[in-house]
C-alpha cells in the first residue's frame, strides 16, 4: 500500500474534526481529513444537529403559522411531510457544500474511507469501492464522534423500532410514536413530533424530562409538550419492546403498563465510535465507559495523538466540540489558545426551545445563602404578543444582593439565541443592573433581560424595606 505523509491527520469530519483541520491548514500544515461518508460533516450534518434542527424549524413554522397569521388555514398532513423531507435534503446538501468548500479552500485533503491504526503514526484507510492506502501523520486527531446506543432490551430494526439515526428516514408521519428516554435527543424529537400532530408517549426512568436543567424550565416544557397532546410516563422501567409483525410496536413497562404505537424511537444515549480504529495498534485503549481519555490539552497518553468531540465524552455539544478540535490542533502546533472560557451556554432545541448558562436556581441555592431570581414571562413582552410567543420565561439568577449574575435560564422561542446576551454579560463581569441601565431595541424578546432585572431590583428593595421595618441591618 502506498503511504502518504501529512503534518496533521484528522479522523472524522464532524465539528471537532473540521475545526482541527482548518486550524492546522491555516497554520500552514499539510492536513488530511478522513471520513467514512462521501462528504464531510459527520453525524452532526447527516443524522444529528442539522437535520433535527431543520425538522424542528419546519415543525415550528407549520404550527405557528395559523397562530401568527390568525388565518384559519389547516395545512394538510401530506403538505407537512413533503415539506419536511424536501427541506431536510436541501439543508443537508447546502451544509455539505459549505463544509466541503471550506475544507477545499483551506487546502485540506479529504479521503473517503474507513480508517484504522497500523501503528502510532500510521493509519490504513480502506476506500468504499475497495483498495486501501496509508496515511502517516506527525500529529493525529481522533474525532470520530458517536452513534446511538443500542440497548440490549430494545430490538432496533430501523424500520418499526428506530434510533436517532433512522428516525429521519421516515417518509410519512406515524400516527403514534413511543419515545424511550428523556434526555436531549428524546425530548427534542418528542416535542417535534407532538407539534406535528403525532400521538407521542415519552417513557423514562426519571421523574421529569431533562433532569439536568432548571426544574421550572422543564416544567414549562412539559406543560407545553402535554398541551400538544404529548404524554410523559416518568419513573418507569422498561420491561420489553417488540414489533407484533403486523402494525404495532408493543412496549411493556415494569408496572404492567402496555403502550402500543405505530413506531418507536429509542433515544437512550450515545456511544463513542472507537471500535473500528484498532486503538491498540496505536498504543491506546478506550476507558471503561468506551471513551478516549485525554488531558486538559486534549492529548491522549500517546503525546502526538489527540482526541476531540464526542469521543472524549461530555458535554458532547457541537459548539464545544468545535472549540476542542481547534484547541487540540493549536496545542499540537504550539499555538497559544488563551484562557479557557468557563461560561459555556447550552441550548436544547425542543419546542419550545430551552437554554442555560451559569447556575440554575437549585444549584445557586446550594452554593449561596440567599439568591434572588428575577422572572420575565414572555407574555409580558410586546414582542412576545406580536410573535405569538407568549409561552416563554426568562429567569435571571443573581446573588443575594441582586448584583452578580449567577446564571440565566430561558424557555421559549429564541432561547438559544437570547442566552448569548446573558453569557456575554457574565463573561464581562457585568452586574444585573446593566440590563436596566442600557437600552434594548423595542419590541424585542431581549427586553426580557430588562424585565427580569427590574424584577430582581424590586425584590431586593422589598427585602431591604422589610429588613428596615424589622430593625435589621440592611445588606448592601
Amino acid at each position: 500500500m502506498e503511504t502518504f505523509a501529512f503534518d496533521l491527520v484528522v479522523v472524522g469530519s464532524g465539528p471537532a474534526g473540521q475545526k482541527a483541520a482548518i486550524q492546522g491548514a491555516s497554520a500552514g500544515c499539510s492536513v488530511l481529513v478522513i471520513d467514512r461518508e462521501a462528504s464531510a460533516g459527520g453525524a452532526c450534518v447527516h443524522h444529528g444537529t442539522i437535520p433535527s434542527k431543520t425538522l424542528r424549524e419546519t415543525a415550528v413554522l407549520l404550527d405557528s403559522f395559523p397562530r401568527r397569521s390568525n388565518l384559519d388555514i389547516c395545512l394538510g398532513h401530506d403538505v407537512r411531510i413533503s415539506s419536511l423531507t424536501t427541506r431536510l435534503d436541501r439543508v443537508i446538501a447546502a451544509h455539505e457544500r459549505y463544509i466541503g468548500g471550506q475544507l477545499e479552500r483551506s487546502g485540506v485533503v479529504f479521503w473517503r474511507g474507513k480508517a484504522r491504526f497500523l501503528d502510532a503514526h500510521r493509519l490504513e484507510v480502506r476506500a468504499v469501492g475497495g483498495g486501501a492506502r496509508v496515511a502517516q501523520g506527525r500529529t493525529i486527531v481522533i474525532a470520530t464522534g458517536s452513534r446511538p446506543r443500542t440497548p440490549p432490551e430494545v430490538p432496533i430494526d430501523h424500520e418499526h423500532i428506530l434510533d436517532s439515526d433512522s428516525i429521519l428516514s421516515l417518509t410519512y408521519l406515524p400516527e403514534s410514536l413511543v419515545v424511550l428516554g428523556a434526555g436531549v435527543i428524546a425530548s427534542e424529537y418528542a416535542s417535534i413530533f407532538a407539534c406535528l400532530g403525532v400521538e407521542v408517549t415519552m417513557i423514562d426512568r426519571g421523574v421529569r424530562p431533562l433532569s439536568f436543567l432548571d426544574e421550572e424550565l422543564t416544567a414549562h416544557f412539559l406543560a407545553s409538550y402535554q398541551a400538544s397532546g404529548g404524554r410523559f410516563l416518568g419513573g418507569r422501567t422498561l420491561k420489553g419492546v417488540e414489533w407484533d409483525g403486523i402494525s404495532r410496536v408493543v412496549t411493556t413497562l415494569d408496572d404492567g403498563t402496555v403502550v402500543e404505537s405505530e413506531k418507536l424511537l429509542s433515544a437512550l444515549g450515545r456511544v463513542a465510535c472507537l471500535d473500528d480504529l484498532d486503538l491498540a495498534a496505536a498504543g491506546l485503549t478506550a476507558t471503561s465507559r468506551g471513551l478516549l481519555a485525554v488531558d486538559a490539552h486534549l492529548r491522549t497518553s500517546v503525546p502526538h495523538i489527540y482526541g476531540a468531540g464526542d469521543v472524549i465524552g461530555p458535554p458532547s455539544l457541537a459548539s464545544t466540540s468545535m472549540e476542542q478540535g481547534r484547541r487540540a490542533a493549536c496545542h499540537a502546533l504550539g499555538i497559544p489558545v488563551g484562557a479557557t472560557m468557563g461560561v459555556v451556554p447550552s441550548g436544547i432545541y425542543t419546542i419550545p426551545e430551552m437554554a442555560s448558562v451559569g447556575l440554575d436556581e437549585a444549584e445557586a441555592r446550594k452554593r449561596f445563602p440567599a439568591i434572588v431570581v428575577g422572572r420575565a414571562p414572555f407574555a409580558e413582552l410586546a414582542r412576545g404578543q406580536i410573535s405569538a410567543s407568549t409561552e416563554g420565561l426568562l429567569k435571571l439568577i443573581s446573588g443575594p444582593d441582586g448584583a452578580q449574575i449567577l446564571g440565566v435560564q430561558i424557555v421559549g422561542e429564541g432561547a438559544t439565541e437570547l442566552i448569548h446576551i446573558g453569557q456575554m454579560a457574565m463573561i464581562g463581569g457585568q452586574p444585573v443592573d446593566t440590563f436596566i441601565d442600557n437600552i434594548f431595541n423595542f419590541p424585542t424578546l431581549g427586553e426580557a433581560y430588562r424585565v427580569a432585572a427590574l424584577d430582581v431590583r424590586e425584590q431586593v428593595r422589598g427585602a431591604r424595606a422589610q429588613d428596615a421595618a424589622a430593625g435589621l441591618p440592611i445588606a448592601c
Binding site: 398532513h77 475497495g130 428516514s169 417518509t171 400516527e175 402494525s247
Partner: protein, 294 residues
C-alpha cells in the same frame, strides 16, 4: 414471427396475422399512451390469497407477508388503498403504512376485490418468465430493504421500490402474451430485449395512471439510470444496486463482493465491501422465502 389473433379487449390492435416483436413493441407503446395496461395477478397467488381470506385462523401476519412478496397484489393494493373510499389524508407511500392505517380486515377486503376482479396472467409459454420476474422482484425488494437498513434510509420505501421496479415488464409481457398467442415461437433473447427496452416507460405509465407515490414512480422509471431521478436518487440507487445484486446472486449464481462494491450505485450509497458481503449473506433467508412462493 408470431401469430396474433384479434383481441376484442383491444380494438385498436391490428387484425390477426403474423406479428413481429417490433409490432408487439408498438402495441405496448400504444397501450401506454391510451392507458390500457393490465397488471395481471398470478393465478396461484390469487388462489392462495382467496384461501387465506376464507380461513378464519388466518392472522394479519400472513396477510401482511402476502402483500409484501407479490408485486401485482402490492401495486393493486396501493392503488385502491390510496383512493378516497379507503383513506383520507396523505397519500399512502408504503405497504406497511397501508397495513397500519387500514388494518388487516380492510386490507383483506381490498385483496379479495383485487383477486376476484383483476385479470390473471394466463399466457401459455410465458409461465417460467413470469415466475422469474416475481421471484426477482421479491429478492430485489428484500435486498433493497437490507441495504436501506445499513444506510439508515427508509426501508419501507426501498422495499416497495424493489418489489415494483419491474412491474412494467409484467404489464408488457401480459400485452405481448395477449397479442402473440400461441407464444412458443418467440425468440427469448429478443423478447428479453424488448421487455428491457420498454419496461421503465411502461412502469412509469402505470405509476402515473394509478397515482402511485412519487418516489416509487421515479424508481420505476429511473432504476437503470438513478442519477436521472429528480427527487428520489437514493431510492433509485438502492433499487438499482439491489437489482444488480439479485441478478448476481440468483440468476448468475455468483456474487463477487469486491466486484459488486465497485458498482456505481454501491459507491453512491456508500456501501463498503463488508456491507456488500453482508447483503450477499442474505441469500439463505431469501431462498427460504422464495421456496414457499407459488
Amino acid at each position: 414471427m408470431v401469430t396474433a389473433p384479434r383481441d376484442a379487449r383491444h380494438p385498436g390492435a391490428p387484425p390477426a396475422r403474423s406479428w413481429t416483436l417490433v409490432e408487439a413493441r408498438q402495441e405496448i407503446l400504444r397501450r401506454v399512451e391510451q392507458q390500457l395496461l393490465d397488471v395481471p395477478m398470478l393465478p396461484e397467488v390469487a388462489q392462495e390469497a382467496l384461501g387465506m381470506l376464507q380461513d378464519p385462523s388466518c392472522d394479519g401476519r400472513r396477510l401482511s407477508s402476502l402483500i409484501h412478496r407479490d408485486q401485482a397484489i402490492a401495486a393493486h393494493l396501493l392503488r385502491i388503498a390510496s383512493s378516497p373510499l379507503y383513506h383520507r389524508g396523505a397519500q399512502l407511500v408504503s405497504l406497511q403504512q397501508a397495513v397500519s392505517r387500514l388494518g388487516t380486515r380492510t386490507i383483506g377486503e381490498i385483496i379479495l376485490a383485487v383477486c376476484t376482479k383483476s385479470g390473471t396472467f394466463r399466457v401459455p409459454g410465458f409461465e417460467a418468465e413470469v415466475q422469474r420476474l416475481f421471484r426477482h422482484s421479491y429478492a430485489t425488494a428484500f435486498l433493497a430493504r437490507q441495504a436501506a437498513r445499513i444506510r439508515r434510509s427508509s426501508q419501507e420505501e426501498a422495499f416497495l421500490g424493489g418489489l415494483l421496479h419491474d412491474l412494467g415488464k409484467l404489464a408488457a409481457l401480459q400485452c405481448v402474451g395477449q397479442v402473440a398467442a400461441p407464444a412458443a415461437k418467440l425468440d427469448p433473447a429478443a423478447l428479453e430485449a424488448l421487455l428491457f427496452e420498454v419496461h421503465c416507460e411502461v412502469g412509469a405509465a402505470i405509476a402515473a395512471a394509478w397515482k402511485l407515490p412519487a418516489a416509487l414512480s421515479e424508481v420505476m422509471r429511473h432504476h437503470h439510470d438513478p442519477e436521472s431521478a429528480p427527487g428520489a436518487k437514493r431510492a433509485a440507487h438502492l433499487t438499482a444496486f439491489a437489482d444488480r445484486l439479485a441478478y448476481a446472486m440468483f440468476d448468475e449464481g455468483s456474487a463477487d463482493a469486491a466486484a459488486l462494491a465497485a458498482h456505481p450505485s454501491a459507491m453512491a450509497l456508500n456501501l463498503y465491501p463488508e456491507d456488500v458481503t453482508a447483503l450477499i449473506a442474505e441469500r439463505e433467508p431469501i431462498t427460504r422465502s422464495l421456496e414457499v412462493m407459488p
